[in-house]
Structures are given as structure tokens and as C-alpha cells.
Amino acid sequence: MEIKTVQTPHVPVRYLEGGSGQPLVFLHGAGGATLEDPFLAKLAEKYHVFAPLLPGYGDSQECPELRDMLDFTLHSWDVVDALGLKDPILVGHSMGGMIAAEMSAIAPHDVTRLALIAPAGLWLEDHPIPDVFSTMPYEYPALLFHNVEQGTALLTAGVALDNPEWLKGFLVTNARQLGMAGRILFPIPERGLSGRLYRIKAKTLLIWGDSDRLVVPAYAHAFKKAIAGAELVAIAEAGHMVTIEKPDQVIGALGRLVA
């Protein structure tokens, strides 16, 4: 994978690109995406992957003009246009799934293949989604991974949590990334998507880890009900970070969109 920049009407956007084959746009979750992302590397073995970073993520420029869901949705279309893509396979994870669903609802004729991996965007009274904004870093693994021990090792690898310079960097990154994510996820990750899902015309795949404790599988059924013809792929022994825990199965499932 390589990191590149593309100009959009608001800001230059950083994106990760790699692989060859059918173009696939991957929208990352609130945690962001990096060059080292093992899932994207595997995905690039089969597709021509474009993974744009939301402004403020990684080293990308912030964009104060993006304030609400419509801004995020149109910005993401701006990025697709700027990359010169037409009807790419659209894949989004978590927050990225929410944005991908909105993009497909607002421009139903421009997306024919859509994969939503544990997307945010709905709110079920009986299954309130935990508040990730007040969650302490040490609490993340239990929320995000099926295998908490492995998840912990992954998230805390080589970090001295009491180093003040590291802490400052961590806080700056959090402020930039989650500050941006908060515009569509805080304090409740719901911005009216349920009223728009009926517009989606794409062949839609829902991919979910069976032990997702952040956006529990009840949401998979709510999405399935709301999107005509949507197909659900449940993956065993995987949490919200199903892309990290079971990348091969996720990529295998995506194959159904192009079959």
C-alpha cells in the first residue's frame, strides 16, 4: 500500500492505495486506517483498493467545514469523484459503514455493490451502543475484540502509557480523529439513517462478527430488515474488529458481491 493525496473541493485528502483489479473504496472506522493495516494489505491482493482518510485522520489536514452527516456524505462522494472512480465496490467498516450507507441512500443509482461491516448509524433502544468517547484506552480491547488478550497485545504494543510525550501525542491524535468522528457519532451514533435506508438499490452485504460487543448483532438484523435484498454474513469468533480478527473470512464474503 502507498499513501497519496488527492485534491477535493474542501481539502486535500490523504488516501491509501494498493493492488490491482476491480476498484474498491474502503471507508475506515473511527479508529482510522494506516499503511500497516494488515486487512487492507490482504484486500489489495484481490482488488484495487482506495482507502481515503477522513480529514483529521493520520497526517491529513482537518476540515472544519464538515460538520454534519450530509457534509460527510457529500465529501465522501467528492473523494470518489476526485479519484476518478465510477461505481466502485463500496465497503465501510463501523463509522465508515455508516457513511457508505448514507452515500448509497443519497445516490442510489451510483452504487451497485455495497458491503457494510458492522456499520454504525442505527440506534436500538434495547441495545444501546456503548459510549466510545468516554471509554478509557484500557477498556477498548474488551469492547472491540473477540479475543481480548490478543486485542490488548495489538492495541498496546510497545507503548509506555505513562510517558508524557506519548500521552500528549495520543491526546492530539484522539482530538483530531475522534473529534472529527464525534461530529456524526457523538453522543449517539445515529443521524437519521433509518429513514433513508429504503433508498439503497445496491446489492448489499452485511458482515458482522458474532461476538461484536460494540455494535451487537441485533443491529445486523435491523439493517437487513431495512435494506431490500441485503444478505448477512455472520462470522464466528470475531468482535467489532472483525477485519483484524478474521480478515480472510471478510474478504471471502466480499467475493459474493462480484460473483
Partner: protein, 420 residues
């Protein structure tokens, strides 16, 4: 010097094992710990104490806004302020303040502050905090990274509402109002003095300097630790070529306990001070600072939330707290000396004295407040003689003020009936 008698209004019945059994005093505090019937007594005692401070000659009586908070029973500071306008005579009503991004629409603040100013005869000192992340983001659901933009718009709207004399349309991003035309408007012109509580962000320094607002640092960690932050402010005042560096451009909150001797102060106040620091400040660190609430510049300057200190307040002792300056406690002479250090060291003309601490009894609170008013305050009055005439940051009451409860006797009214 202006001395404001402040009460955060803590809930005084948090159990001894509060910090072991509960994760936070704020946001998701356990409902079972609040007893509405007991609160009747608590509220009335706290109001009595604020009224008593007026009789002692304090320049101001203060209240503030917190939500879902075990150490602050004032989700609506304006209700407390309204009660005070009627039962105090001379003290400024210092509302520090209204978290203006939370009022929808913010003209509500312009209206309520105007009412307070009119009822009190021009005694209002107005505060416009951004509000803590706990209050603003976690309790009131404001999006962290948009809070400041919304705050700024609310500020501009309120000031225009106070200043303009014709109805105007306000096409804001967060407020669309076709007819802004507040009724009533404040006595104090062009507007009541404004104090801005801040936590070390450069943007807030500049905001105060540009608008001639007083910058107040409401810290619980005392004057010794505050030095760097206020020095940052004064450096900025110099850097921006402000016309003067009057100490009234800044204020500071300080917990103060006075007794006959230093040892008596410890004997009388230690348990209450520890109640406050060990229990009331037990905030779940996840609520201290929602990502995006603080600007990048502020984080980079190292100004972190005081609600998530690296070592916590839970284990601090009386010795730590008094030596560290979190609390100024002791005999009138000890307190005078340390207050002098504070006032000179920080160069502040406004003191927001926290005289009621934690679960302090009313008797002890009265004792401490009276000693301060009689034996300490007079000696600190003229710390800045060259700035004594600076009245830009304090209220200007009208001289002929109404006396509450001065209706005529019923028999005089009855006389009307026979008059025709």
C-alpha cells in the same frame, strides 16, 4: 480588590466509601445518593450562607452551573441568582456563569441576565463559560469539536441582543432567529461586566483581551500551581499590546478556611476539605475531556483537564493540600500572608473565595467567613492602589434601589375602596 463569596453547593451526604463503590461524582453519579427531602434543607442553608456573606461585606456572592454533579447542586445558576437578588442588598450577583452554548436559543441568557440585572438594580456580574466537557458534552450532548464554534456564535448573538435597539434577524449556523428583540434589557450599559472562566487555552486569553473581559481561572489545585497558567495569560496580555495589565483583568478561585489559629483550622476544617478533595472530585477520567473538546493548540501547550490529574486528588492529605496551596487555611495572619502571595504572585484583582467546602456545617462556614471578612479582607483591600479606579470588570448598581417587601400596609390599600 473584589472578593466574591462562592459556594459550589456540594451534596454533603456522599458516603464514606463513595470513591471505592462509585466510579464518578459527575455525569453518571448514582441517583440513589440524592435525597430530595434532604436537599430542601441543604438548598436553604446554602442560600442562607450566601445571604449572610452579603451582610459581612463581601463584594459579591457567586454561583455557577454544573449538571449531574455531586459537588454542584446548581444546574440552573440563574434560579439561585434570582433568589439572591431579593435577599441580598449590596453584594454583586456573580453568575460565573451560564454555559451559553447550552441555551437554546442563547437569547435566553441575554433575557435572564437582563432580568437579574433589572431585579437587582444593576448588581449583575455575568460569566460566559464554555462549560466543562462533563457538563457540555457528556450531560448536555453537545458535539465536542463543534462546542467552541457554537459558543462563539452564542456569544455574538447575546452581545448583539444586548446592544442593538431595533429588532434584528440573526442567521447563525446554530441559531436562526427572524426577530431578536429582547425585552427586558439590562440596566448596565452597554452590558454587564463579563468574566470568562478558562483553563489555559490561548484562544480564551485572546478572547478576553480583545473584548475587555476578565479572565478567571477556576481551579481546585490552588494558587501555587496556577502560576504558570496565569503567567501565560499575562505574557499574552503584554504580547498583544493590551492597553494595560490591570489585575482586574483576571480572577482566581481559591478555597479558604480561617480559624483562630493554624491548628484550630485543621481541627475544624480538615474533614470537610478532605470530603471535597477525596470524594467530590472523584470524576471518572473518561468524562474529563471528550476528544475534540479541547483545541489541538491547547493540548500541545500541555494544559490538560484538571479533572484527570496524573496522580488524582483521592489520596491528598490536609498537609498536602495546605502546603500545596490547594487550600489556604489557618489563622487570620497565616491566611492574610498566603492571600497576599496569591494576589501578588498571580496579579489578580478578583478573588472567588470558596468558603463553603465539601460537607462543612453552617456554623463552621459562618465562623470562617466572618473571620475572613473582619480580619483578613480589610488588610487585602488596597493591594493595587494604582488600579483602584478600574471599574471595567465590576458591576455598577444604580444608587436608588428598591427594597424588597415594601408594599404598603393592607389598611392603606383598603382606603382605596372608600375613596370614590
Amino acid at each position: 480588590m473584589k472578593f466574591t463569596w462562592f459556594n459550589l453547593m456540594p451534596w454533603p451526604y456522599l458516603p464514606d466509601d463513595f470513591r471505592e463503590k462509585h466510579r464518578s461524582v459527575w455525569v453518571d453519579i448514582d441517583q440513589k445518593l440524592f435525597d430530595p427531602v434532604k436537599s430542601h434543607e441543604v438548598y436553604n442553608t446554602y442560600l442562607d450562607l450566601l445571604e449572610y456573606a452579603d451582610t459581612l461585606g463581601f463584594d459579591g456572592v457567586g454561583c455557577n452551573e454544573h449538571h449531574q454533579n455531586g459537588y454542584g447542586l446548581m444546574p440552573s445558576p440563574n434560579l439561585i441568582a434570582a433568589a439572591l437578588t431579593r435577599r441580598t442588598k449590596n453584594a454583586a450577583i456573580v453568575v460565573l456563569g451560564n454555559s451559553i452554548a447550552l441555551y437554546n436559543p442563547p437569547v435566553r441568557v441575554a433575557e435572564e441576565f437582563a432580568m437579574l440585572d433589572c431585579i437587582s438594580g444593576g448588581r449583575l456580574v455575568a460569566g460566559f463559560p464554555v462549560g466543562t466537557s462533563m457538563d457540555t458534552n457528556y450531560c448536555y450532548g453537545q458535539i465536542p469539536s463543534l462546542t467552541r464554534e457554537k459558543y462563539q456564535e452564542a456569544h455574538d448573538l447575546i452581545m448583539r441582543a444586548w446592544h442593538e435597539r431595533e429588532p434584528f434577524a440573526f442567521n447563525g449556523r446554530y441559531n436562526k432567529l427572524r426577530y431578536v428583540n429582547i425585552w427586558p434589557r439590562p440596566i448596565q450599559q452597554p452590558n454587564p461586566p463579563i468574566h470568562i472562566p478558562g483553563g489555559g487555552s490561548v484562544e480564551t486569553y485572546d478572547f478576553c483581551i480583545d473584548n475587555t473581559y476578565s479572565y478567571s481561572y477556576l481551579s481546585f489545585t490552588g494558587y501555587i500551581r496556577a502560576k504558570a497558567l496565569l503567567q501565560g495569560y499575562w505574557d499574552r496580555v503584554a504580547e498583544r499590546n493590551a492597553p494595560d495589565s490591570s489585575p482586574h483583568r483576571a480572577g482566581f478561585a481559591q478555597t479558604i478556611c480561617v480559624a483562630d489559629t493554624d491548628s484550630e483550622a485543621q481541627r475544624l476544617y480538615e474533614e470537610h476539605v478532605l470530603y471535597f478533595y477525596n470524594r467530590c472530585l472523584h470524576v471518572y477520567p473518561g468524562f474529563a475531556d471528550a476528544p475534540g473538546y479541547r483545541t489541538i493548540k491547547t493540548i500541545q501547550s500541555g494544559a490538560l483537564s484538571q479533572y484527570a490529574p496524573p496522580k488524582g486528588f483521592d489520596t491528598l492529605t490536609w498537609k498536602d493540600l495546605t502546603e500545596g496551596g490547594h487550600v489556604i487555611a489557618g489563622s487570620p495572619e497565616t491566611v492574610r500572608q498566603r492571600m497576599e502571595d496569591l494576589i501578588k504572585g498571580l496579579h489578580v484583582g478578583n478573588i472567588f473565595g470558596l468558603f463553603h467546602v465539601g460537607n462543612m456545617t453552617k456554623e463552621k462556614c459562618m465562623y470562617s467567613s466572618k473571620l475572613f471578612a473582619e480580619k483578613v479582607m480589610p488588610k487585602l483591600r488596597n493591594m493595587f492602589p494604582e488600579h483602584a479606579g478600574d471599574d471595567r470588570f465590576w458591576c455598577k448598581p444604580i444608587s436608588k434601589r428598591a427594597t424588597p417587601g415594601s408594599l404598603p400596609a393592607e389598611r392603606e390599600v383598603a382606603a382605596l375602596a372608600g375613596a370614590h
